[in-house]
């Protein structure tokens, strides 16, 4: 049995213009110690899916489907029961280290909180553990830093503190939502490497969310590509990078700046803009920006096909997508 089994997860947000389907029938599995990357542009529903796993969606929203952790459906649990799971078995790191820490408490206090809550540590035990954790996430001088307030730390250090908080109760699954997007490029790799190392050493499963296909390809075993709330392509990272099939995945890859590309080479872009959740077609959500789209795409949701072992694609025009080259599709 998988550690995490998500089946037909849908998230409907209440907005001023009416209900918006932020996540549509998302299904995936995650085994103990495995790493999964969720990739897509901003607004594709990846963060909403992560918040749904944590049970932290905004109050005026509806979550449908199943999220089974060790066979228990999290969507059926009460808030009190979820509080036992959050921070303990499921932990999350957010995008904005600048605003994700409470400005009026010391970082030591903030790391201590889950320890005292879930591991019933005494003040002194927790303090010793905080020092160990700070050291573990690579913050120099833990003894001094423990009494610092967030504004006294740099962005990278704050994200390390966030990682220490997430790590504190040795969770089964770590969810990292764009953990490096807000950081300097030079710090990004350090933080990703830190997450990698910790995940490996602690035997945690990781869900890494990013808009950056490069980050995902280097750090995960499996990939889930999302567009407009739907999974459009999923499978083993190695398999997918061997052959990108879905037109959106191809576009995403083509839009990635590559080192060593000829100077004159123009950066490819996917035409159109990030979709507005309200106006998406009933069928394939990528219809309006897809070079292969036909009338079928707009009205019928595409079937999910296992194209080859460990690679699933949801597209009506599979054959065409596989035969046409990326350069032809987006030029």
């Amino acid at each position: 049995m998988s550690l995490l089994n998500v089946k037909d997860l849908s998230v409907i947000l209440a907005t001023n213009e009416g209900p918006a389907r932020a996540v549509r029938n998302l299904s995936f599995r995650l085994n103990r110690g495995e790493t999964l990357g969720i990739v897509g542009e901003s607004g594709c529903g990846k963060s909403m899916a992560a918040l749904a796993l944590m049970g932290l969606l905004p109050e005026q929203s509806e979550t449908l489907g199943e999220i089974k952790l060790d066979g228990q459906n999290l969507l059926e649990k009460s808030d009190a029961e979820m509080c036992q799971i959050r921070g303990n078995r499921l932990a999350m790191i957010f995008q904005e280290p600048m605003t994700s820490l409470n400005p009026v408490h010391t970082v030591g206090h903030q790391i201590m909180e889950p320890l005292r809550l879930h591991r019933n540590m005494s003040e002194n035990e927790a303090k010793a553990e905080v020092l160990r954790l700070l050291d573990r996430v690579g913050i120099p001088n833990p003894k001094e830093r423990i009494d610092n307030y967030p504004h006294q730390l740099s962005g990278g250090q704050r994200q390390r503190v966030m990682i220490a908080i997430a790590l504190s109760c040795q969770p089964d699954i770590l969810i990292a939502d764009e953990p490096t997007t807000a950081l300097d490029v030079t710090i990004q790799d350090q933080i990703l490497e830190l997450i990698q190392t910790l995940v490996r050493e602690e035997g945690m499963a990781l869900i890494l969310i990013s808009h950056d296909l490069g980050v995902i390809s280097e750090n995960t075993d499996n990939i889930l590509v999302m567009y407009g709330g739907c999974a459009v392509e999923a499978g083993g990272t190695a398999q997918i990078f061997e052959e990108l099939i879905h037109p959106y995945t191809q576009g995403l890859f083509a839009a990635m700046p590559k080192l060593g590309r000829a100077r004159g080479g123009r950066l490819v872009t996917i035409p159109g803009t990030v979709p507005d959740l309200m106006g998406l077609p009933m069928g394939c959500t990528f219809t309006d920006r897809c070079p292969l789209a036909t009338e079928v795409c707009r009205n019928t949701p595409p079937p999910i096909v296992e194209v080859k072992p460990l690679q699933f694609v949801a597209c009506h025009h599979l054959d065409e997508a596989r035969t046409r080259k990326t350069e032809e599709l987006f030029s």
Partner: protein, 316 residues
């Protein structure tokens, strides 16, 4: 931290000196001849001359200002012209009533504000929230001295639960005094409490949308625990600002409300002094009230730094 405090203390002293100069200019220089103000236009020239000498008004303004301030620092405020007693004696007795009244009012208004504001925020956009915010909008519009009269009509005249006015004196026991101050402080606290409740509500709602609240929930903290440990302290920052601003409204409110209840505090004292043309008393009471407002705002400034560690860092 010490740099922060030192800077604030410096501002405090400068503001106090500025305020005292303003009062001196208005009360002693602006009218031209203070002796004429005290004695009235019908007074004979000899009487005016005599009083001018008695009060030392023939000396240059700089010296008079300096003497006034030096006297205050020594605890000598001069002699009341109407009562022929030291001004400090009059003020001391009044302070012992006005300060407890102000403290009682501010405590009641903060209790009102926090309970209403938090309840409304927790029930955002539900019936309870909308009703309470409607009531608080009304509360802001009611003049405190009218509310005082309404409270007298209800609790003193109709129900006969509490005294309609007057003050027994602290020798008659704490309970009797608190009873006498209860209606006045309720009248003062309702308006300020209504304003603060609205600020508390919107501030709590705003903080609940912050990223660090989501972090707290992601740690496994319940909504209640998140509210107490992470939301409240941040939400209190704007509440504190407005409490500081509202303190001046509350203090001038006591001047009016004391007169409604015939309580012999600073408000009653200053009003009697105006009617007696006792400008020395007026001058000193006004300075005292202004000082209280300035000092409370200084305390608020320092409290900021205690609540919000980012401020301290700014100044150091």
């Amino acid at each position: 931290m010490s740099v922060f405090i030192a800077k604030r203390v410096l501002t405090l002293i400068v503001t106090l000196i500025g305020a005292s100069i303003v009062i001196f200019l208005v009360m002693e220089i602006l009218p031209g001849d203070p002796a004429l103000v005290i004695l009235g236009v019908d007074a004979s020239d000899e009487a005016i001359l005599a009083l001018t000498k008695e009060l030392g008004l023939d000396r240059p303004p700089m010296i008079r200002y300096w003497d006034w301030i030096a006297g205050i620092l020594k605890g000598e405020l001069g002699t009341s012209y109407a009562y022929k007693v030291p001004v400090w004696e009059l003020i001391e007795g009044a302070l012992l009533i006005t300060i407890p009244l102000a403290i009682m009012s501010i405590i009641i208004s903060i209790i009102l504000a926090l309970s209403i504001g938090l309840y409304a925020a927790a029930n955002h956009n539900k019936a309870g929230d909308i009703t309470l915010m409607g009531i608080s909008q009304l509360g802001i519009s009611i003049p405190n001295f009218w509310l005082a009269i309404l409270l007298i009509i209800l609790f003193a005249i109709e129900l006969r639960w509490l005294p309609a006015g007057g003050f027994p004196g602290w020798d008659d026991g704490l309970w009797a005094c608190l009873r006498a101050l209860l209606l006045p402080s309720l009248a003062l606290a309702t308006v300020v409490g209504a304003i603060l409740a609205r600020i508390t509500r919107s501030s709590v709602l705003e903080v609940f949308r912050e990223d660090y609240v989501r972090t707290a929930r992601a740690k496994g903290l319940s909504k209640q625990a998140t509210l107490w440990r992470h939301v409240l302290r941040n939400a209190l920052i704007p509440v504190l600002t407005v409490t500081g601003i509202q303190f001046s409204a509350l203090l001038t409110g006591t001047v009016v409300v004391e007169n409604v209840f015939h309580i012999p505090g600073l408000g009653s004292l200053v009003l009697k002094a105006i009617n007696n043309r006792d400008t020395i008393v007026v001058e000193n009471v006004v300075l005292l009230l202004a000082t209280m407002i300035i000092v409370v705002n200084f305390i608020v400034d320092v409290l900021y730094a205690v609540i919000d560690p980012r401020l301290k860092a700014h100044d150091i």
